[in-house]
């Protein structure tokens, strides 16, 4: 099958300015060389902790920020090389669902205006057809036609996120990038939205790039999962393989850190020492080595490359065999 999205060597370095003449004194390597392939119809998760670059990856793919380097092939076309207007036309096919359902809807517009705008700017349909489209979509996401004339502040967080999803669906995109779409919601509402996303995946044959810090949520929704640490993917595999055979020490620690809702569960927790290093000044070699219990001299000097350890299971660790044997 032809991949829908192929990201190659994607980098996003933000300059750090200093002094009166705003001299560039360094770079925050938010995304530091990412390769990622998404096939039509699948849901790929990107997990990682704050500052790992997962959200920036999503935004860079969409060119909400211009990439520093790398290719973003969408249906074979490199988005990073498109002219502004070409990119604008292309946005029809890639949509985004944002994290904060309060900030992502313009407070001064009605839901109707918000949803119609997508269709208007791409000149899709007559005004009658547009209205019909959004009336259908609003019901697909579990709200009613009557809601269209209200403003965002009339809705609860969960309802707003439904509106955000409706906005992403209106253009019938080929790919949806969802950036922490449920992390601002209460658990009982979160499950409503997760179920909605599952339904929509089936109904519209959606391809989804799902960015989240919550491993349980990612496991629930995704087919394949990539784990990011300091701007790089450290492990990527089928969901089942990743959660059953985590082969990177960081993935292991991340999995073991999730509190289990079972007071009787045995806890063999790997506590990572120290904090996340600054992406402006990442450690040498393998960027995880200062917090890694498997680290050796080699890890301090040589950065490991992603290598295949099983079918579709890639890990970037010098000691993955040792790590795997402890699972």
């Amino acid at each position: 099958m032809e991949p829908l999205l192929q990201v190659r060597g994607l980098k996003q370095h933000f300059p750090i300015h200093s002094g009166a003449f705003r001299k560039v004194v360094g770079h925050v390597r938010a995304v530091d060389g990412i390769d990622l392939t998404v096939y039509p119809g699948e849901t790929v998760g990107i997990v990682g902790e704050s500052g790992c670059g997962k959200s920036t990856t999503g935004r860079t793919i969409l060119r909400l920020v211009e990439p520093t380097a790398g290719e973003v092939l969408f249906n074979g076309k490199d988005l990073a090389k498109l002219k502004k207007e070409e990119m604008r036309q292309m946005r029809k096919d890639i949509q985004m669902v944002f994290q904060d359902p309060y900030a992502s809807l313009n407070p001064r517009k009605t839901i109707k205006q918000i949803l119609l705008e997508s269709l208007e700017v791409h000149g899709i349909g007559t005004s009658k057809e547009r209205l019909k489209t959004i009336e259908e979509i609003i019901e697909v996401v579990g709200l009613q036609k009557e809601h269209l004339d209200r403003h965002p502040h009339d809705f609860s967080g969960g309802q707003r996120q439904r509106i955000g999803i409706a906005r992403a669906l209106v253009l019938k995109p080929k790919l949806i990038i969802a950036d922490e779409p449920v992390s601002a919601l209460d658990v009982s509402i979160q499950s409503q939205i997760l179920n909605l996303l599952k339904d929509l995946k089936k109904e519209f044959d959606l391809t989804l790039l799902f960015i989240s810090h919550d491993l349980s949520v990612v496991k629930h929704l995704c087919d394949r999962v990539a784990v990011m640490y300091l701007g790089r993917i450290v492990e990527i595999a089928d969901k089942r393989k990743l959660f059953e055979n985590p082969s990177h020490p960081y993935t292991q620690a991340l999995l073991s850190a999730v509190p289990k809702a079972n007071p009787k569960a045995k806890r063999e927790r790997i506590i990572l020492t120290g904090d996340l290093p600054s992406p402006a000044n990442p450690p040498s070699g393998c960027t995880f080595h200062p917090r890694c219990r498997y680290a050796t001299e080699a890890c301090k000097t040589t950065a490991p490359q992603l290598q295949e350890v099983g079918e579709g299971h890639m890990v970037s660790c010098h000691h993955y065999k040792e790590v795997l044997s402890t699972v």
Binding site: L64, R88, R91, I94, M96, F98, S104, P107, V121, G164
Partner: protein, 276 residues
């Protein structure tokens, strides 16, 4: 409707609004309110102290000061609206575009020019521009407007810098909305609150500036009554007819106070931080 009520509950804002309303009514109904033609000279009744016939007295040409103050309201309103209008027309687009696109023009050209302009006291700047353009009401307005523009560039740009990073702006962009529509459809409406507050405060300064320029002879030309030019003419008579300075001075004070109160009231009302 509820929010309008809330605004009036801010008290001082209401007083400000009443003063401004009174000013607008006075200007509009000047021919009805004023008992005399403001420019009619009457050499039999020069320099009369305030009395039942001439509430505020008469000046050295025998003109009724009350009527002139009433007609002066027209000039003040015009001054406030035109000068601030010019400033907004210049300042808001510059603020919107530099703030949205950033880059070299924003940082090294526009902002540095504005720094330079704002280094002058406002009145000196308006005076200098006015001196270059020549005297007259229109040129005075242009001078004041240009003098105000940097403040509007700054406040608009500041708003845009925040708003351009709002998620709903990203969302609009990711849907494929063109820049112009994002700037005027999404950013500007959300930036209007602080701009409106700034404009009421600027109107107060605008009235003062018009009065100052007129006082210096660079604004409204005689015989049209303006509070500033009235003060100018009255100051030569300070020793014989001090009352001639009282009333235009008082009018300026009250109206400037009114605009400032209105601005404060709007601020409390529009600022989400103080709004419950």
């Amino acid at each position: 409707m509820k929010s309008v009520l809330k605004f009036f509950r801010t008290g001082l804002g209401l007083i400000g609004a009443i003063i401004i309303l009174a000013l607008v009514l006075t200007a509009a109904l000047a021919p009805v309110i004023a008992p005399y033609d403001p420019n009619a000279q009457n050499y039999e009744k020069i320099l009369q102290e305030p009395n039942a016939e001439h509430y505020f007295g008469t000046d050295d040409l025998g003109r009724d000061i009350f009527s002139r103050v009433v007609y002066g309201a027209q000039v003040s309103i015009k001054a406030a609206i035109i000068s601030v209008g010019i400033a907004m027309l210049i300042g808001i687009p510059i603020g919107l575009f530099t703030g949205y696109y950033r880059g070299f023009w924003d940082e090294w050209v526009v902002m540095r020019v504005i720094d330079a302009l704002q280094a002058f006291p406002f009145l000196i700047l308006a005076l200098a521009i006015s001196a270059v353009l020549g005297s007259g009401f229109g040129n005075a307005m242009l001078a004041i407007g240009i003098g105000f523009a940097p403040a509007f560039v700054r406040i608009t740009r500041g708003q845009v810098l925040t708003l351009r990073n709002m998620e709903y702006v990203h969302a609009a962009k990711s849907v494929g909305v063109k820049d112009m529509r994002i700037i005027f459809g999404h950013i500007l409406p959300n930036a209007m609150g602080p701009i409106i507050i700034q404009s009421t405060l600027a109107m107060a300064t605008g009235i003062l500036a018009e009065a100052s320029l007129s006082y210096l002879g660079l604004g409204v030309q005689p015989p049209t009554p303006s509070w500033g030019s009235m003060l100018n003419q009255a100051q030569t008579l300070m020793s014989v007819a001090p009352y001639a300075t009282y009333y235009p001075g008082l009018a300026i004070f009250v109206v400037v106070l009114g605009f400032n109160l209105l601005g404060d009231g709007l601020q409390q009302f529009l600022d989400p931080k103080t709004r419950k």
